[in-house]
């Protein structure tokens, strides 16, 4: 407070009106230093995380090299570790999830941003936000007791009956497997796609819509041929975000994928994912190489999500600046 300082501010030409000493007495420099330490610790922790993953997987990286990604043997007894089945499972479940979540999510986002009155849109968005807050173990719980029985009794036999000629839908219906994990993942990532896409769509300038309508476009044509293409980058960003979520998702997938390291064209087959194998085997990993192979899987997961999140952020920022620059209603 001013009463504590008796020095008349000497007119420092650069550092503003207060001398360094008075700022120190008033605590500004101390406050700056303390808050700086907290902020810097965030950077430090992040660097440490990368370092630990890199260091912790050194043995496995040196022993297997790139072969780690292309071999399918996962044998703790003979110390042979290949990640192919897990990478395959992670990719397949994520692709299935996106195939379901993208059309549904974008459709819902279009409804919320373009069609629904403000109040309804806000209310629905509130529910979507709550849905995004549901923890993954709850999705896993419902996956185990609701989705798996439904898959086994109804959906998988139905798919076999209609599309059974495709290799995707052949083989016994266990209930667990790639398809089930993909469906549960889809349900989990839909809220992310909706929230981000809705924001992006709402930021599309109003004159874009009006111009299309004035040219005689129907409401759908203006939405699909003008508004959505304008927002394309940001929508892609939301999909990348969703993909990053899906790749790293652990609990729900672990509970429904079947936890068997198989590579099979059939989506009915039980599988395994990177996150699931870490969750299941980390505490049981005997031997350094075993543990380090699991940590290398963690490193792979980290790098994948790092890249996807980065690309997503760039796309979203670029798109919202494009809309914001023109000024929206």
């Amino acid at each position: 407070m001013a009463t504590t300082t008796t020095t008349v501010p000497s007119a420092g030409p650069v550092a503003g009106s207060r001398s360094f000493l008075s700022r120190l007495i008033e605590g500004d420099e101390i406050a700056r230093l303390i808050t700086f330490l907290f902020a810097a610790s965030v950077v430090l922790i992040t660097l440490l995380l990368v370092f630990e993953l890199w260091q912790g997987s050194a043995l496995a990286r040196h022993k297997f090299g790139l072969n780690f990604f292309f071999t399918r043997v996962w044998d703790p007894i003979f110390d042979q570790f290949g990640a192919l089945p897990f990478i395959y499972g992670t990719l397949v479940t994520s692709v299935v999830a996106l195939a379901i979540a993208v059309p549904l999510g974008i459709g819902a986002a279009i409804f919320l941003a373009e069609l629904a009155p403000q109040k309804i849109s806000d209310t629905l968005q509130f529910f979507i936000d709550l849905l995004a807050a549901v923890p993954s173990v709850i999705y896993g719980l419902l996956g185990v007791f609701v989705v798996i029985p439904l898959m086994r009794q109804y959906l998988q036999p139905a798919l076999k009956g209609t599309l059974g000629f495709l290799p995707l839908f052949q083989g016994p219906a266990y209930g667990v497997g790639f398809l089930t994990a993909g469906i549960v993942l889809a349900i989990m990532v839909i809220p992310y796609i909706i929230s981000v896409s809705r924001e992006i769509l709402l930021a599309v300038p109003r004159d874009q819509r009006e111009a299309a309508l004035a040219l005689g476009a129907t409401r759908w044509e203006s939405t699909w041929k003008v508004v959505v293409p304008f927002a394309r980058g940001g929508i892609m960003g939301s999909i990348f975000l969703a993909l990053a979520r899906a790749l790293g998702e652990t609990m729900a997938v672990t509970m429904v994928i079947g936890n068997t390291p198989t590579i099979s064209a059939s989506l009915f087959s039980p599988g395994y994912s990177i996150a699931a194998v870490i969750a299941n085997e980390f505490t049981e990993a005997t031997g350094d190489l075993y543990l380090q192979s699991l940590i290398e899987l963690g490193l792979v997961l980290f790098l994948l999500t790092f890249i996807l999140n980065g690309v997503a952020r760039l796309l979203i920022v670029a798109t919202s600046q494009k809309g914001g620059g023109m000024g929206h209603a």
């Binding site: 965030v42 549901v134 993954s136 409401r219 980390f282």
Partner: protein
């Protein structure tokens, strides 16, 4: 021409209806989840659930008192660790920092926010569990706290920045130092937003399971100390749901109901605090 217009109008109406269907499907998932949990969990929940320890395999009854206490301890630790870093870090970003450092801190926070929770678990394992040679409450709290940092940091910064600069200038003009201004003007003005940010971060980690699997690990009894393994509600849901016993499944449903109830209530309260209006009008 006329028929083509009719066709285009039909397509428009049809597709727009479909988007509505998509929205209804997406939102109905929330109510399906709630419905299932209330139906299955509501019938299995009892006083014992909150007060008793888990029973040995084969005996019915028992509860999850140790997991409830374990979750409370983990979340307390997580908040003690994550909230100060997020809060003070945000003050630095919003009030003190220059361009380059702020960029690096924000970048690190966003990166940390995107790290899959299982990888956070690996990190906490190698940083806390290995040196102490123990699965522990401490390690679990550390892992959850890590996940709270980026959420608290980024949203607190946003809310601090939303405080109009006229307030800052007013305080400075009265002769208040910068730290004084922050403590008595800016933070109080943004407190609703900051509280919301902290509550949402709390709700986010309250349901996390993956980072606990090899940090807090789980425990069928009372955890004897901070340096010992402990049970936690989400972790118990996982172990009970994949176990082959009917009684455990019932308990898993009950735990799911309690956990989701807690998380949704915190979420709704947090958003309610914010919706009542930030104390400061957006200039």
């Amino acid at each position: 021409m006329n028929s083509s217009l009719r066709w285009r109008k039909f397509v428009s109406g049809f597709m727009l209806t479909m988007t509505g269907v998509c929205a209804v499907v997406a939102v109905s998932v929330l109510f399906l989840i709630l419905g299932y949990l209330v139906y299955h969990g509501g019938t299995s929940i009892s006083w014992n659930f909150f007060t008793k320890l888990p029973t040995p395999v084969g005996e019915t009854g028992g509860g999850m008192a140790n997991a409830i206490l374990g979750s409370a301890k983990l979340l307390l630790l997580a908040s003690l660790f994550g909230v100060p870093i997020g809060f003070f870090g945000a003050i630095y970003l919003a009030e003190f920092s220059g361009g380059a450092i702020a960029f690096v801190v924000r970048y690190a926070a966003d990166l940390l926010n995107g790290v899959p929770s299982i990888v956070i678990g690996i990190f906490a394992y190698s940083l806390v569990v290995l040196p102490f040679k123990h699965f522990s409450t401490l390690a679990g709290g550390f892992a959850l706290g890590l996940m709270m940092i980026p959420i608290t940091l980024r949203s607190t910064e946003e809310f601090l920045r939303a405080v109009p600069s006229t307030l800052r200038e007013g305080a400075m003009a009265l002769g208040a130092s910068k730290s004084r201004t922050i403590a008595t003007v800016i933070v109080p003005a943004a407190y609703r937003g900051i509280l919301t940010a902290i509550l949402l971060a709390f709700a986010r980690v309250a349901g996390e399971t993956a980072p606990l699997l090899f940090t807090a690990f789980g425990n069928r009894f009372w955890s004897p100390g901070w340096n010992q393994p402990t049970a936690a509600l989400p972790e118990m849901i996982y172990r009970y749901a994949i176990a082959p016993y009917d009684d455990w499944h019932r308990q898993a449903w009950a735990a799911g109901l309690v956990l989701l109830g807690l998380i949704l209530v915190v979420n709704i309260v947090a958003r309610g605090i914010l919706a009542r209006g930030i104390a400061v009008p957006r200039s």
